[in-house]
């Protein structure tokens, strides 16, 4: 392992990865990798998570292709130094900010979107000119093996390496010095990563999670809007990896009197999308492994929680499947309402008034996303200004992930740092300030010995009071 990292450092030192042509060739190769291996990718995702090809394309393959293509088209623009304004006082001078690669970076990815969460940060790291060690999650073993075997066939082995293994490998990697660590995963492990990074003063980006709520206020608009709302909630809960997604809807907030309408709509949509019952379940991923399965099942063990189930609840341990399950008002102090669910269980919390959602959300730690289905412009403004989350999406779910122009990241317990689009490039770059000065003219008052005249001169200079400076120099101002 140490040898691999030493090689990455050597490669970076040679300066090869800084060249735009290298970066472009790597990105193009990555695109080829995806294009030429789609079927294998679909197969691996089906094996690890039971994802259908459409879900895999929508959430992984398509996302990555779009990301690489966008990066390739913008790279030259991003790499170019940006001019910064310089005040007249410094004349003649030129100031600019130049992005530079950080060096050797470490990317930890998660198991739920094993391709997207590994390769999207990789795209950013390469585009910024770094060498990379990628450590995919071993909880998605087929995908991890695929990455370990296939990346070396397409990308520059001396600059991009993939390491297989579990938590022990992760721990060993964290003992070493990196120029950046990019981590996607749980807050618990996020703390460990940051603590390890602190020893080397390594900057980190932590993409964590939280309980992302969906506020529902559109059920009494029109029937078609209500239907679309239900579709988008179902699509935002069970669509992405059966709820095992950092941006999946964790729970729903709705007004008491509309709860039954919502539940009915959700039931209908669930049946249409995923089948009538657990035996005929389709178009949906499964739970990743026994450990997660048990964790989710345990959330339902609490009798008060079990009592609140209004739909679903059946489980199949052998197939690691839990059917889409809706709960109505489980106890607020139950584990299902305090921990991130990360699975196919959807609690619906009723409120007297939908505006109470704001206080409810604020009583919990900052989520990665707040979804709000509402057409009330005042309410929208209140949600924006009175809550804090990584992102807010109005009237839809999940799609903000596809916007290259929106930064994707958390705040508070849901993480810090961001990526996607140019933000990926920035997150793996150092923005170096550069000031070019000429030797003339010389401003004498900069130098000691200090006098009252020099003091006044500098005071005026710092205020950019050019007129005052002229007066001073002409003798019309006294110190």
């Amino acid at each position: 392992m140490e040898k691999s990292i030493a090689e990455l450092r050597e490669t970076f030192k040679t300066g090869g990865t800084k060249s735009i042509s290298w970066r472009k060739s790597q990105l193009k190769a990555l695109l080829q990798l995806i294009n030429q291996n789609e079927d294998s990718i679909f197969k691996a995702l089906d094996q690890d998570l039971g994802k259908s090809p459409v879900e895999s394309y929508r959430d992984e393959v398509g996302v990555l292709k779009k990301s690489v293509t966008y990066t390739l088209s913008c790279l030259e623009k991003w790499v170019a130094p940006k001019k910064a304004e310089v005040p007249l006082l410094f004349f003649p001078a030129k100031a600019e900010v130049m992005p530079q690669p950080l060096g050797v970076v470490l990317i930890f990815s998660s198991w739920n979107f094993p391709f997207t969460l590994a390769l999207d940060p990789l795209i950013g790291a390469i585009s910024a000119g770094n060498t990379v060690l990628l450590k995919p999650s071993d909880l998605a073993p087929a995908c991890m093996s695929f990455l370990v075997e296939t990346i070396p066939k397409y990308l520059d082995n001396k600059a991009v390496k993939v390491l297989a293994g579990g938590a022990d490998i992760g721990e060993r990697l964290l003992q070493l010095k990196w120029d950046k660590i990019f981590f996607t995963g749980s807050p618990r492990v996020g703390r460990l990563v940051m603590a390890a990074a602190a020893k080397h003063l390594t900057p980190v980006t932590l993409e964590l999670g939280g309980k992302s709520p969906a506020i529902v206020d559109t059920l009494s608009t029109t029937p078609s809007k209500a239907k679309v709302t239900a579709k988008r909630i179902v699509g935002g809960k069970w669509g992405p990896c059966t709820g095992q997604a950092c941006i999946a809807i964790d729970y729903v907030l709705v007004e008491e009197k509309l709860a039954s309408t919502l539940i009915e709509l959700l039931k209908k949509t669930i049946k249409r999308f995923y089948g009538e019952n657990i035996k005929s379940l389709k178009n949906i991923s499964r739970i990743v492994n026994k450990h997660q399965f048990q964790r989710l099942v345990n959330l339902l063990k609490d009798p008060d929680v079990a009592d609140s189930i209004v739909y679903g609840g059946s489980v199949d341990e052998e197939k690691l499947v839990i059917e889409p399950t809706i709960l109505l008002d489980p106890p607020l102090d139950s584990e299902i309402m305090s921990e991130e669910i990360f699975g196919p269980l959807l609690p619906i919390i009723t409120l007297k008034n939908v505006e109470e959602s704001i206080d409810f959300i604020n009583s919990k730690s900052n989520p990665l996303v707040i979804y709000a289905f509402t057409e009330d412009e005042t309410f929208k403004k209140r949600i924006l200004s009175e809550t804090s989350s990584g992102t807010v999406t109005f009237n839809d779910s999940m799609v903000q992930f596809l916007c290259d122009s929106l930064p994707f990241g958390g705040v508070g317990q849901s993480g810090f740092g961001r990526y996607h689009g140019k933000y990926s490039f920035d997150t793996f770059s150092h923005e170096k300030s550069i000031l070019h000065r000429g030797f003339y003219p010389e401003i004498e008052p900069r130098y000691p010995p200090w006098t009252d005249f020099k003091l006044l001169f500098l005071k005026l200079a710092y205020q950019f009071d050019y007129f005052g400076l002229i007066l001073l120099l002409l003798g019309f101002k006294r110190s």
Partner: protein, 490 residues
């Protein structure tokens, strides 16, 4: 640790917890988010500097023997500028930024909204104790946060003054100063903050970041390093020398994170360079620099001992070619130049942070880059040359927080340039709008409508949908039409 000056409340974990609780409650009222509050605070800060300049200068003189001009200009005037810039631009900075949306999410609109992070902690340093305490606070206020400032106990007069002035001029329900040393800092670091900005050294930075990790608190670290100056031949030597002196001894007597730490020049040029230094140093500080009022003193006896150790190392003490006089009682060391120090000496490996300037020799100027890159990344790097190619190589090869060509330290005054380090010299940046950004969360907002619900997103998943998804992601209208007509392969 209580102050020897007067009985001050000592902060412990319990009281630190209460303090944060109080600030969280203040923040929750929404007060700090209002534009008016932010404006009032920033204007009050300007007023504070206008009314209390003599006291500030006096405190800085107490702590550091800082010359009045350095205090007035490099601390007070710089801070005033910072406030004024924030006041002028804050409204604009606070406005949401529109973001483009693409076909994939059509129809939609998007924006990025800046919001305050919440309750933030600023830990400042002793060398520019006024500026480094309040400059980050300008950003934190402009971004709408509640703030705790922990000034350095190594500059006690300024720390005390800050506590008084902040209480007198700013809103104490939202901005507080906690004085103290290690125990107080530790108590503060146990609490959960929404951001920590730390200015200081790498050793303490690691402790701060480890503490922040427990609460997943993002940090900005403004650290230091050995800022090299490459001096090429064939330049205006007098101007270059003066600018190096201004950046070294003119900045708190070398006790500044961006002070030139050491010089790299060619063997054949060294003598000329040193002669120029001797000449200009005398012009600036007189024949007896120990008596000059225009030089700060060494901050305390610890640092005096540290610097003495650097000079007394065997292989180094014989390399002094100028200065080297010390006055232990008054904590003064004259501007000292050393020539041809060994690469493995202490003075060439530790950040000097004092009035000692080693000159390291190379055969040709291009060799400088390897010397610099063999060490950790500094906060700043400087080059004096007229050669275009050398400038280009310097910019491309040297990794540092900031680079200046043909001058030293002035980039600090440039608010359009982000000020921060990389690698061991730190992470994150501030100054100007970068300060506002450092203390903001940039919240992504996507507005969608109900029209055009893309059926292709939802189950049942069919091959047709797969084909359509491909076309949608490719952004090709033609592809979409073909997919809809069933003409493309899934």
């Amino acid at each position: 640790m209580t102050s020897e000056v007067e009985n001050k409340p000592v902060i412990c974990t319990e009281s630190a917890k209460e303090l944060v609780k109080e600030l969280r409650a203040s923040f929750a009222t929404g007060k700090t988010k209002s534009y008016e509050w932010r404006l009032t605070q920033l204007n009050a800060m300007v007023k504070m500097m206008e009314e209390k300049e003599p006291q500030i200068v006096a405190a800085l003189h107490d702590d550091l023997s800082k010359p009045e001009l350095e205090s007035s200009i490099y601390e007070i005037a710089m801070l005033k500028n910072s406030c004024r810039l924030a006041v002028k631009n804050m409204k604009h900075w606070m406005m949401p930024e529109k973001a483009k949306t693409s076909l994939v999410t059509f129809p939609s609109s998007a924006e990025i909204v800046s919001e305050p992070l919440g309750v933030v902690l600023v830990i400042s340093a002793w060398n520019y104790p006024f500026l480094l305490s309040l400059d980050p606070i300008v950003g934190a206020i402009a971004a709408g946060n509640a703030i705790v400032l922990k000034p350095s106990e190594i500059a006690p007069a300024t720390s005390l003054l800050l506590a008084r002035l902040v209480a007198e001029y700013l809103d104490s329900s939202c901005i507080k100063v906690v004085e103290g040393a290690v125990p107080e800092t530790a108590a503060l670091l146990e609490q959960k903050w929404d951001k920590i900005l730390y200015t200081g050294n790498g050793r303490v930075a690691r402790i701060v970041m480890a503490a922040a990790a427990k609460h997943l608190t993002p940090v900005v670290m403004e650290l230091g390093g050995k800022c090299p100056v490459i001096v090429d031949s064939d330049i205006n030597l007098q101007v270059a020398t003066r600018r190096i002196i201004a950046g070294k001894w003119g900045c708190n007597n070398g006790q500044a994170c961006i002070s030139p730490d050491y010089i790299i020049t060619m063997k054949d040029y060294a003598q000329k360079l040193i002669d120029s230094f001797k000449c200009e140093l005398e012009r600036f500080y007189g024949k007896n620099p120990l008596e000059s009022k225009d030089l700060s003193r060494i901050v305390n006896s610890n640092h005096f001992a540290r610097l003495s150790k650097l000079l007394d190392e065997d292989k180094v003490s014989s390399k002094i070619v100028h200065g080297g006089e010390r006055d232990k009682e008054n904590l003064k060391i004259t501007p000292t130049i050393l020539l041809d120090v060994p690469r493995d000496s202490l003075i060439m490996n530790e950040e000097i942070f004092g009035p000692l300037l080693p000159v390291f020799l190379v055969d040709k100027v291009e060799d400088s880059f390897d010397v610099i890159n063999s060490g950790t990344k500094p906060l700043a790097a400087y080059l004096f040359t007229n050669k275009k190619k050398l400038k280009e190589k310097f910019v491309a090869t040297v990794s540092a927080g900031g680079l200046v060509i043909n001058d030293t330290t002035v980039h600090l005054a440039e608010p359009t340039l982000p000020f921060g380090g990389v690698g061991d010299s730190g992470m994150g940046a501030y100054h100007g709008k970068f300060s506002f950004d450092a203390f903001s969360h940039k919240k992504a907002v996507l507005y969608r409508g109900f029209a055009c619900d893309a059926f292709v997103r939802y189950p049942p998943y069919t091959r047709g949908k797969l084909g359509l998804l491909r076309a949608l992601f490719d952004g090709s209208i033609l592809g979409i039409i073909r997919a809809l007509l069933g003409w493309s392969k899934a």
